[in-house]
């Protein structure tokens, strides 16, 4: 993506609502009117843990409307457990908006959005953007089990066509979500967010069918603002996304390590060299 990152800041927000949408899956509504104006689909936030002592947690911004944004996350370790323990009325500082976001322009009228697990948190805003301009949005949503398949109905209500897969077959297709995608007529454009194996499969599919695909990558972050080079991904150095990158190695290769937090998190599938 070549979209410029917006100016970010530390935003002090108040927790408006907290819903455990499934076991260990938390939806936190936060009061952040100034953020709503700046957020674009695919942006993320670094949620600063109350009391510090651990790096912030990078979270996709799930909703942004009126004065409220929301963050949807799975409790997967100590840091997300601390975030999940926040209660309504408490304060949460976040650094946002961060990252380049999805490009929701273009003329495509038939969009496939592929989401795996907590990747669902980053795809509601782009789905809404495409639906708002009259495009058809098909959501291919995969999770480990039916219990982990959160917010699917929300996407249906928004107007998405739903295709569901679970690893254990407890709901929808018994298998991985990219098998469902391959079974259907090819879309004009793909957006995807989820675990790396899923993104690799989406990327392979997109290149085989010659469909432009934007992938929002998952990587362990340090700072989240471009200062530590912890969250890199190999991409071609002459890509639009990394136009000013230096040669990355002495071997003359055209592959560079771009930062997922600044040059991404959204990358064109055909520019990745992973």
């Amino acid at each position: 993506m070549t979209l410029a990152s917006p100016p970010s800041s530390v935003v002090s927000t108040r927790i408006l609502d907290r819903t455990e949408v499934a076991r260990d899956v938390i939806l936190l509504g936060i009061e952040a009117p100034e953020l709503v104006e700046k957020v674009r689909p695919g942006h993320f936030a670094m949620a600063l843990l109350p009391g510090g002592q651990a790096a912030g947690v990078a979270l996709g911004i799930y909703e942004a409307r009126g004065e409220r944004c929301s963050l949807l996350f799975f409790i997967a370790g100590d840091r997300t457990r601390r975030l999940g323990a926040l209660r309504v009325g408490e304060m949460l500082d976040i650094v946002a908006p961060l990252g380049n976001g999805f490009d929701c322009g273009g003329k495509a009228r038939d969009i496939a959005i592929v989401a795996g697990g907590v990747g669902i948190a980053s795809v509601l805003l782009p789905a809404q953007a495409f639906l708002a301009r009259g495009a058809r949005v098909r959501l291919f949503y995969g999770a480990r089990t039916a219990e982990r398949l959160v917010e699917a109905e929300r996407f249906a209500t928004e107007g998405c066509d739903l295709s569901i897969a679970t690893d254990d077959g407890s709901r929808g297709h018994h298998g991985v979500v990219t098998e469902l995608l391959a079974r259907e007529p090819a879309p004009e454009a793909i957006l995807a967010c989820g675990p790396t194996p899923m993104l690799r499969a989406v990327s392979a599919y997109a290149q085989e069918r010659n469909v432009p695909a934007q992938l929002s990558l998952e990587e362990a972050f340090g700072c989240g603002v471009g200062g530590c080079w912890g969250c890199v991904v190999p991409i071609i150095g002459s890509s639009a996304q990394a136009p000013s990158f230096p040669p990355s190695d002495a071997d003359g290769s055209d592959v560079v390590h771009a930062r997922v937090c600044v040059e991404g998190p959204v990358f064109w599938a055909h520019e990745l060299r992973w």
Binding site: P7, L48, V95, A220, C228, C231, V232, P246, S248
Partner: protein, 321 residues
């Protein structure tokens, strides 16, 4: 040099006087500009840039970061564009940062350090040079230059011969006697010491049954290493009389003051920026509040005061203020 609040919080690193004692650490703080939206960089003492090497480096494969209890492991692997590209494209931007910019040099031979140091130090945008002789993530079997007093001395001496600018040697905690290494660095001409780099460590994914870091091993930082780093500062302050930039898990003003009392003249802030990018501001404000409460007008008056064997009592004499 006195803060508008009336307190002198300046720190001296050789001939370089920092108006504030807080330093954004190499590899954690970009060029400083990445953090400009969240902090007032004119109230940060200095930024130490990410290390640069003779040739470009792609760095290590991912994952490069693993979060661990009270800290994190990193294994970036000195990704950098190499000194040629760096001088041509990056260095001029550093002049725009409203605080001192300290260059960081890494290498794989004594000659590498001298070569890169000479070229980088020649630039007016660079106020001082830190020699990163202690990066655990490119080392052979964990051995770095900073694990050996002779190698430490050879690197420092070679770099010293190339520049008059202050040289800071960054020491490793992964040694038996850090005082010996510190003495070797100072005898070879280091103006100051950065104490300490990360502590070697690793983490294993029990379901994949594989190390979590792409590089297998990494450097541990954050609160988990603070007592280790504090002791290292304490021991180095007894061994040598040059200024120390204390670093390793400093998150709060209280942490920073502990390092000052142990003998550090300035404090480095690294991983704490990831927990809250405003950390250098809150730490400075906390230090000023402590000084007001303790009736300390000049921060240097407390440096080393918790260290009975502090070797450093004369280092601040002179007319710099």
């Amino acid at each position: 040099m006195v803060d508008p609040s009336g307190f002198d919080v300046s720190a001296r690193i050789g001939s370089l006087v920092l108006p504030y004692p807080t330093v954004g650490l190499s590899g954690c703080y970009g060029s400083g500009a990445e953090f400009a939206p969240y902090v007032d960089l004119s109230r940060v003492g200095a930024v130490v840039l990410k290390s640069v090497t003779r040739r470009p480096r792609m760095g290590n494969p991912t994952p490069r970061i693993v979060h661990t209890p009270a800290g994190m492991l990193n294994a970036i692997g000195l990704q950098n564009p190499g000194i040629d590209w760096y001088l041509q494209h990056d260095v001029a931007k550093f002049a725009q940062t409203p605080c001192a910019t300290i260059g960081s040099v890494a290498g794989f031979s004594v000659d590498d350090y001298a070569y890169v140091c000479e070229r980088l130090a020649a630039r007016s945008e660079i106020a001082a040079i830190e020699l990163n002789i202690s990066c655990p993530n490119v080392a052979h079997e964990g051995e770095t230059f900073a694990c050996d007093p002779n190698l430490t001395a050879r690197v420092v001496r070679a770099a010293r011969a190339t520049t008059e600018k202050p040289i800071i040697a960054k020491l490793s905690p992964n040694v038996t006697d850090i005082g010996t290494i510190a003495r070797a660095a100072v005898e070879a001409g280091a103006d100051a010491l950065a104490v300490v780099n990360t502590v070697r460590g690793m983490a294993i994914d029990i379901y994949r049954r594989k190390p979590r870091l792409g590089n297998v091993t990494g450097g541990l930082s954050g609160a988990a290493i603070r007592p280790i780093a504090l002791l290292a500062v304490y021991e180095v302050a007894r061994a040598v009389s040059v200024p120390i930039v204390g670093q390793g898990g400093i998150e709060t003003a209280s942490d920073a003051i502990e390092f000052l009392l142990a003998g550090a003249s300035a404090v480095g802030i690294g991983t704490a920026n990831f927990a809250d990018p405003r950390a250098p501001m809150t730490i400075l404000d906390g230090i000023l509040a402590y000084m007001a409460q303790q009736n300390v007008r000049s921060l240097r008056d407390i440096v080393g005061t918790a260290n009975a064997g502090f070797a450093n009592s004369s280092q601040f004499e002179g007319d710099e203020g």
